[in-house]
């Protein structure tokens, strides 16, 4: 892997000063760690960096919502309902109850991002734990967990979400928990697969021989080695969770009224689309942009981890071109 990078890196970025990984390192200097290598490739990916910047902006807006939003998002002002964008101090106008649309968008980003990130964190934690136990110990533990996953995925995630939210009631904490509970299976399978490979490695044997406990091996050695694919999965899961939240809120089974999220704004907008069609456009655009940013970041990390695939394809495409040009 590392000599592969050394061979191909100069061809990719000829203008760049020699990257530290292909210069002969002085023996005293520590070689760059895997995180640094990934960051180097990640930061040269324009899509991924754009995604990162956009996501950071949204996160900052969500954190400083009080300072950013010019109005109270819940303040009803029937005298000023359905104002056009730019009228008065209302940047994007007001909705059917006279609430400032821009302020509502700003406050909605709080809920949407919070749901997205907490779902991803819980699901990744749960999925990694179950996948790790399943993959490391194998045997009947593995069988039980895999059957559990079979049961979970024999119903679509959205289906289970709707069922639970409708039966148990729409509380934010239920929403986060059920979204997490229906999205850990992918991570669990991934981690299990990684562990099945990794547990045969010699360093695991060495660790075991020196008396490291099973849990020590799982957490210190194996999970760290499987961490990159998990991170990619977690990133993509943030986007998925934001989309699911908006869908459930749209159906009236997610976030409830005094709180506001992009999904709720969309479900309101459908009733009033004759009066103000733009009401539906803004929140949807916000969701699209955030999820797109998150997905770009996830893809960026994935590409940074495994640059081989794309390059070989490019090379192949070039080869094919030359092949057909030479007229054989």
């Amino acid at each position: 892997m590392s000599d592969m990078n050394a061979a191909t890196a100069p061809n990719v970025q000829p203008a760049e000063p020699m990257a530290p990984e292909n210069a002969p390192l002085p023996p005293s200097k520590k070689p760059p760690g895997p995180w640094k290598l990934v960051w180097q490739k990640f930061s040269h990916n324009p899509y991924a960096m754009t995604g990162l910047v956009v996501l950071l902006i949204f996160v900052l807006v969500a954190i400083f919502a009080k300072q950013v939003a010019p109005f109270d998002p819940a303040k009803v002002d029937m005298m000023n309902s359905n104002l056009k964008p730019g009228s008065g101090k209302h940047l994007l106008g007001t909705d059917e109850l006279g609430r400032d649309i821009f302020s509502r968008l700003v406050y909605s980003s709080r809920i949407s991002l919070m749901v997205g990130f907490s779902v991803a964190i819980i699901a990744v934690f749960l999925g990694s734990l179950i996948g790790a136990i399943s993959g490391y110990f194998g045997g009947w533990v593995d069988t039980i967990f895999m059957r559990l996953i079979d049961v979970m995925i024999s119903l679509p995630g959205l289906f289970i979400n709707i069922l639970v939210m409708a039966i148990f009631g729409t509380k934010m904490i239920y929403l986060i928990l059920i979204l997490a509970l229906t999205s850990w299976t992918g991570v669990a399978r991934l981690v299990r697969g990684q562990f099945l490979q990794l547990r045969e490695m010699q360093y695991v044997e060495a660790a075991r021989a020196t008396g490291v406990s099973s849990w020590g091996i799982i957490f210190r050695h194996l999970l760290r080695n499987a961490s990159f694919p998990i991170i990619v999965n977690a990133t993509l899961m943030v986007g998925g969770a934001i989309l699911s939240e908006s869908g459930l809120s749209y159906l009236g089974l997610g976030i409830q009224m005094p709180q506001t999220s992009w999904g709720i704004m969309l479900s309101n907008s459908q009733e009033f689309m004759l009066i103000n069609p733009m009401l539906a456009v803004y929140p949807g655009l916000c969701i699209l942009i955030v999820v797109l940013a998150v997905n770009f970041i996830g893809d960026g990390i994935r590409d940074a981890l495994d640059p081989r695939q794309k390059k070989s394809r490019r090379r192949l495409a070039k080869w094919r071109k030359n092949f057909s040009k030479s007229g054989i």
């Binding site: 939210m165 039966i167 148990f168 009236g252 192949l316």
Partner: protein, 322 residues
């Protein structure tokens, strides 16, 4: 093959059984549960107890489950709480309507996606490939129901070209032309969603095959490129595509919950949300089981097709998708 089939079937039945237990338990674990829904709050405790006894709700939950399972296996899905209609009368029309919408958009997306993906695999990073990439990114990042709302706003309200929602116009029940007009917008949404996955999938499946040695051999011995693509590569590239299609078979029955709700399409997705809101437990159980059967059956069909189409896959191979 027979042994494999039997094992897979048993496995599927086990999964379905577990799903039914989990769903039944979930509904009875809910605060209030069916008891609260079925017994009107105004009844005196004595009458409530009698009604509870008549409905079988005073028995322990496992016994209730066994009774439910027995009835279900006999094809009796129970009655709705509201109006006391047989559950089948509510569900089967919805299944039919969903099948109309889903099969139409599914076939349409396949007709577009597979040739497009194959074309893109032969011209990597060309304009068409980049467009497909763009569509994929947008399709995966966009709330589908939002796209539906935007289409409604533009094509129905602003332009008044297409009907806003529902399956038929009020005065044209059963008119095929009218149905087609109503199909356009929801299937546009569904096709875009499907395209996002299928184009990319068929492209990468094709690319993988094009890298194989036997393709190089075919080219080297002078087989025309067209024949290489359609004869040698496509046949092998279709194998993984078929399996993915099998897994998506379930959605033909389960429906597209959000799209059906946006367009007020009287299918399974909308029925499910309505029933979940009003907590019609017997209908919910029935829909859950139908959906689970569809998913499990779809996976089974995908696995079997995979083995039938690709002789390289050993029949007795352990595991499958576990």
């Amino acid at each position: 093959m027979t042994e494999y089939l039997i094992r897979r079937l048993l496995q599927s039945i086990l999964v379905l059984f577990l799903v039914s237990v989990a769903a039944f338990g979930l509904m009875h674990a809910a605060p209030g549960g069916p008891t609260q829904m079925m017994i009107s709050p105004g009844l005196s405790p004595e009458t409530a107890a009698i009604q509870k006894h008549n409905l079988g709700l005073d028995k322990p939950v496992p016994t209730q489950y066994v009774i439910w399972l027995k009835n279900m296996l006999k094809g009796d899905m129970g009655y709705t709480f509201k109006n006391n209609v047989p559950v089948g009368d509510v569900i089967w029309p919805a299944v039919k309507n969903t099948l109309v919408l889903m099969s139409f958009s599914w076939v349409l997306s396949l007709i577009i996606a597979i040739p497009w993906g194959i074309y893109n695999s032969t011209r990597e990073y060309g304009l068409s490939d980049q467009t497909a990439n763009f569509v994929t990114y947008i399709g995966f990042a966009m709330p589908t129901f939002w796209f539906g709302i935007i289409l409604q706003e533009f094509f129905s309200l602003k332009m008044d070209w297409l009907p806003l929602s529902d399956m038929y116009s009020m005065d044209k029940q059963g008119n095929v032309g009218d149905l087609f007009m109503h199909l356009i917008l929801p299937s546009t949404v569904l096709v875009l969603v499907n395209l996002a996955g299928y184009v990319k999938y068929s492209r990468s499946s094709m690319l993988e095959v094009l890298e194989q040695d036997y393709i190089r051999t075919a080219r080297a011995k002078g087989v025309p490129e067209r024949k290489v693509i359609f004869r040698h590569a496509l046949r092998n590239a279709l194998i993984p595509i078929i399996t993915v299609l099998g897994m998506d078979l379930a959605s033909l029955v389960a429906g597209a919950t959000l799209t059906e709700n946006v367009f007020n399409w009287p299918g399974m997705g909308r029925l499910f949300v309505d029933m979940a809101r009003s907590r019609e437990y017997s209908v919910l159980m029935a829909i859950t089981m139908i959906t689970a059967v569809a998913v499990v059956l779809g996976n089974l069909i995908a696995d079997i097709l995979y083995k039938l189409v690709d002789p390289r896959v050993q029949i007795g191979r352990k595991g499958g998708k576990a």
